[in-house]
C-alpha cells in the first residue's frame, strides 16, 4: 500500500479570553495526533461531539491553522509535501487533491448560486476548465452523483437534503481529488436517503480510486463503510484499528463504551439498563489529569489518575490503544449482538 497522508504530532490550541487585563485560557482541541492514511482506504474518525474530529479534518487541509506538528501529503508523482508549512498560495494546488464534504448541505451551499455555478466554482478558481469543457465537466459530474441536467439552473433551496448533499459531493469530485474528507456527510439525512448517499460514496470510491477520511459519530455507518477506524476522545486518539478488529475486540475502554451505547435495530438484542455508562464528555478546558478518560472509565486504577497513557501498538495485533491496560482488559465487542436478517 502506498502512503497518501501522514499526520505527526498535530496539535491545535485555542486561546480564549485574555483581553488587556484578563487571564487567557488555553483549550487544547487536538493533542499530539499521529495518524496515517493509505491510498485507497476509508479511514473513519469517530468520537462524540467536542472530541476534535472536525478540527482534525479542518487542520489537515489547513482550513484552520494548526498550532504544532506536521501534515505531510504524498502525491502520486512522488516526493512529499509538508502542507502545514505552506502559505495560502502555495497550498492551493493541493486543495485540488484534498477536498471536503460538509455535514449540513443547507449551510454549506451558497443560496444565491445556481447549481451549475456551485459545481463550476472550483473549476474556475483552479482555472482547470472553461467554456464548453467546463460545462461538460459540470454536467458529467452532476449526472454521476444523480442530479439530472435539467436541474442546473435551480438554486439550492429547490432541492431536498439528500440532493443537496449530492451537490456538495459533486463540488468535491469535480476536481478529480485523491483524498476526500467527509465531515459527518450523512448525519443530517434520513435513513433511506442516507443509504443512497452511502452507496454513492462507495461507488465513487471504486470508480475514481478515492481515499476517504470519513468523520462520523455513527458507529453503525462506520462499520459499514470504513476499513480502519480512529477513535478520539477529548482531543486525543485513544485507539486505532482495522474496523473489524475494533468491533470484534476493542482495546480501549472508551471504544467499548461507544459500542455498548450503540442502539441496535433489533428488539431481541435489546441491551436493557446499562449502569456502567456514566458521565458525559468533560469540558475541553477542564481536561482531567492522567488518562483523559479515567473519570468515566469503569476499569480506572490509581495509575490512570496520574500517568497519561500514550498511544502504542498492541503486540500481535494491528491495533493501537492509549490505555495502560490495553493488553490485559478483555473488552466486549459489538458483533455478537448484531441482527443478521434482510427483508425481501
Amino acid at each position: 500500500m502506498t502512503r497518501l497522508l501522514t499526520v505527526e504530532n498535530l496539535s491545535k490550541v485555542y486561546t480564549l479570553g485574555g483581553g488587556l487585563f484578563g487571564k487567557s485560557r488555553e483549550l487544547v482541541a487536538l493533542n499530539d495526533i499521529d495518524l496515517t492514511v493509505e491510498a485507497g482506504e476509508t479511514l473513519a474518525v469517530v468520537g462524540e461531539s467536542g472530541c476534535g474530529k472536525t478540527t482534525l479534518g479542518r487542520c489537515i487541509i489547513k482550513a484552520q491553522p494548526s498550532t504544532a506538528g506536521r501534515v505531510v501529503y504524498h502525491p502520486k508523482s512522488g516526493g512529499e509535501v509538508e502542507l502545514t508549512s505552506l502559505n495560502k498560495r502555495q497550498i492551493k494546488p493541493y486543495r485540488q487533491d484534498i477536498r471536503m464534504i460538509f455535514q449540513d448541505p443547507m449551510s454549506s451551499l451558497n443560496p444565491n448560486m445556481r447549481v451549475f455555478d456551485l459545481v463550476a466554482e472550483p473549476l474556475r478558481i483552479h482555472r482547470i476548465a472553461r467554456g464548453q469543457e467546463l460545462e461538460n465537466k459540470v454536467v458529467d459530474t452532476l449526472a454521476r452523483v444523480g442530479i439530472p441536467a435539467d436541474a442546473l439552473g435551480r438554486y439550492p433551496h429547490a432541492f431536498s437534503g439528500g440532493q443537496r448533499q449530492r451537490i456538495g459531493i459533486a463540488r468535491a469530485l469535480v476536481l478529480d481529488p485523491k483524498l476526500v474528507i467527509a465531515d459527518e456527510a450523512v448525519s443530517a439525512l434520513d435513513v433511506s436517503i442516507q443509504a443512497q448517499v452511502l452507496n454513492l460514496l462507495d461507488d465513487l470510491k471504486e470508480e475514481f480510486g478515492l481515499t476517504y477520511i470519513f468523520i462520523s459519530h455513527d458507529l453503525g455507518v462506520v462499520n459499514y463503510i470504513a476499513d480502519r477506524v480512529v477513535v478520539m476522545y477529548l482531543g486525543h486518539v485513544v485507539e486505532t484499528a482495522p474496523t473489524e478488529m475494533l468491533f470484534e475486540r476493542p482495546r480501549h475502554p472508551y471504544t467499548e463504551m461507544l459500542l455498548e451505547a450503540l442502539p441496535i435495530a433489533d428488539p431481541t438484542r435489546r441491551k436493557g439498563r446499562r449502569p456502567e455508562l456514566k458521565g458525559e464528555i468533560p469540558y475541553l478546558g477542564n481536561r482531567p489529569q492522567g488518562c483523559p478518560f479515567h473519570t468515566r472509565c469503569k476499569y480506572a486504577q490509581d495509575r490512570c489518575r496520574s500517568d497519561k497513557p500514550v498511544l502504542r501498538p498492541i503486540h500481535g495485533t494491528a491495533q493501537s490503544a492509549a490505555c495502560h491496560f490495553a493488553e490485559t482488559l478483555d473488552l466486549k465487542g459489538a458483533y455478537d449482538d448484531a441482527p443478521q436478517r434482510t427483508f425481501a
Binding site: 433511506s192 459519530h217 455508562l277 458525559e280 434482510t342
Partner: protein, 339 residues
C-alpha cells in the same frame, strides 16, 4: 387487555395558507396508547410524526386544523374526553396539558427559557397545576431533579440552562415534564441531539421512570435502533399515514408493509466484513403531501406497487395479534391465492 389511555382514530390535520392550496400534512393516523407502555412513532422527516404529537396536546399553530377524527383521552375520573373537540386555550385543555399529558422536546436549549433558572421553570409548572407554595414547589423540584439524576440537585436548581451540559439539560426537561406525574409523556426525538453515550443514559432514565410512575410514553423518533431499544409497540408513519402498527418484536421480526421493510433494509447492520451486504435504499425521495397519490402514499417508491395502489386507499388489515398494516398486497393475498 388493559383499557387504552389514549386512542387517536382516523385523524387528519390540514394546514391552510393564504396563497397556497391547503396541505393535508397528516391524512390517516390511528394510534392506541396503554398505561405503562411505550409506543414508538417512527418515520422520516416530514412524515407528520411531530405534528401528530402536537395535535394530542393541541399545540398546533393557528393555521393548522384537526379536520377529521378524534383523540379520545380516557382519564379515570369523568369518562373519555375527545381532545380534538376541546378549545385549545380553554380550561379543560389547559388542565390536561402539562399536568396529565406532558411533553419533552428535541432540543432542550431552545425549549427551556434561557433567562430563568431551571428550578424556577419547574416550580412554575407545579404551582400552575397544584395548590402549593413556592417553598413546597421548590422542595418537589429538587426531589424531581434528584430523581432524574441531576447531581447536586439543590444547587443545580439555581442554574440557568446555559450552565448545564446537553445531557443535564435534557434531564431538567424530563423533570419538568414529570412535575405533575403525567399519565402520558410525549417525547419528541428526546435523544436526537445527544451523543450516543448520553442517549443511552437518557433512554435508561425514561425506562426507569416509566417503571416508577407507570405512565404511557409516546416516543417519537427516526432511529430504528432507539425504537428497538425502548418501545413496546411501534407505529410506522409515511407521508401522513400510519402504515403499520404492532408489537415491537412482531414488527421487527416480520414487517408487513413494504415501507417498513425498506426502512429496515436501509439501516447498516453491524456485521463482519465477509457478511456485509450492500444497502438497499428506497428509490427516490419522499414526495410533497401535495403530490401524494389518492391511494397508498408509498405508491411512487414501492417496489411492489400494482393496479389498485395509486387510487384506492388500502384497508387496515390485521396480520397478527394487534399487528396492523395498510397494504393492498395483504388484502389481495386473502382474496386470491398467489399462483
Amino acid at each position: 387487555m388493559t383499557k387504552p389511555l389514549l386512542s387517536v382514530n382516523d385523524m387528519a390535520i390540514v394546514f391552510t395558507s393564504p396563497d397556497e392550496p391547503d396541505i393535508e400534512a397528516v391524512r390517516q393516523v390511528d394510534l392506541t396508547l396503554t398505561p405503562g407502555k411505550t409506543l414508538a412513532l417512527v418515520g422520516e422527516s416530514g412524515c407528520g410524526k411531530s405534528v401528530t404529537a402536537r395535535a394530542v396536546l393541541r399545540l398546533l399553530d393557528k393555521n393548522a386544523d384537526i379536520s377529521r377524527g378524534e383523540i379520545l383521552y380516557d382519564a379515570a375520573q369523568d369518562g373519555p374526553v375527545d381532545i380534538a373537540r376541546l378549545d385549545p386555550d380553554g380550561l379543560a385543555m389547559r388542565s390536561i396539558r402539562g399536568a396529565q399529558i406532558s411533553m419533552i422536546f428535541q432540543e432542550p436549549m431552545t425549549s427551556l427559557s434561557p433567562v430563568h433558572t431551571i428550578g424556577n421553570q419547574i416550580d412554575e409548572v407545579i404551582m400552575l397545576h397544584e395548590r402549593m407554595s413556592q417553598k413546597q414547589a421548590r422542595e418537589r423540584t429538587i426531589a424531581l431533579l434528584d430523581q432524574v439524576g441531576v447531581p447536586g440537585a439543590r444547587d443545580r436548581a439555581n442554574a440557568y440552562p446555559f450552565e448545564l451540559s446537553g445531557g443535564l439539560r435534557q434531564r431538567a426537561m424530563i423533570a419538568m415534564a414529570l412535575a405533575c406525574t403525567p399519565k402520558l409523556l410525549i417525547a419528541d426525538e428526546p435523544t436526537t441531539a445527544l451523543d450516543v453515550t448520553t442517549q443511552a443514559q437518557i433512554l435508561d432514565l425514561l425506562r426507569q421512570l416509566q417503571d416508577d410512575f407507570g405512565m404511557a410514553i409516546l416516543f417519537i423518533t427516526h432511529d430504528l435502533g432507539v425504537v428497538a431499544e425502548v418501545a413496546d409497540e411501534v407505529a410506522v408513519m409515511y407521508l401522513g399515514d400510519v402504515v403499520e402498527q404492532g408489537d415491537v418484536y412482531e414488527v421487527f421480526r416480520a414487517p408487513q408493509h413494504p415501507y417498513t421493510q425498506a426502512l429496515m433494509n436501509s439501516v447498516p447492520r453491524l456485521q463482519r466484513k465477509a457478511e456485509r451486504q450492500r444497502l438497499s435504499p428506497i428509490k427516490g425521495t419522499v414526495p410533497s403531501p401535495k403530490d401524494r397519490p389518492e391511494g397508498c402514499a408509498f405508491t411512487s417508491r414501492c417496489p411492489h406497487a400494482f393496479a389498485p395502489c395509486p387510487n384506492i386507499r388500502p384497508e387496515r388489515t390485521e396480520v397478527g395479534a394487534g399487528h396492523i398494516a395498510r397494504c393492498h398486497l395483504l388484502t389481495q393475498a386473502n382474496v386470491e391465492e398467489p399462483a
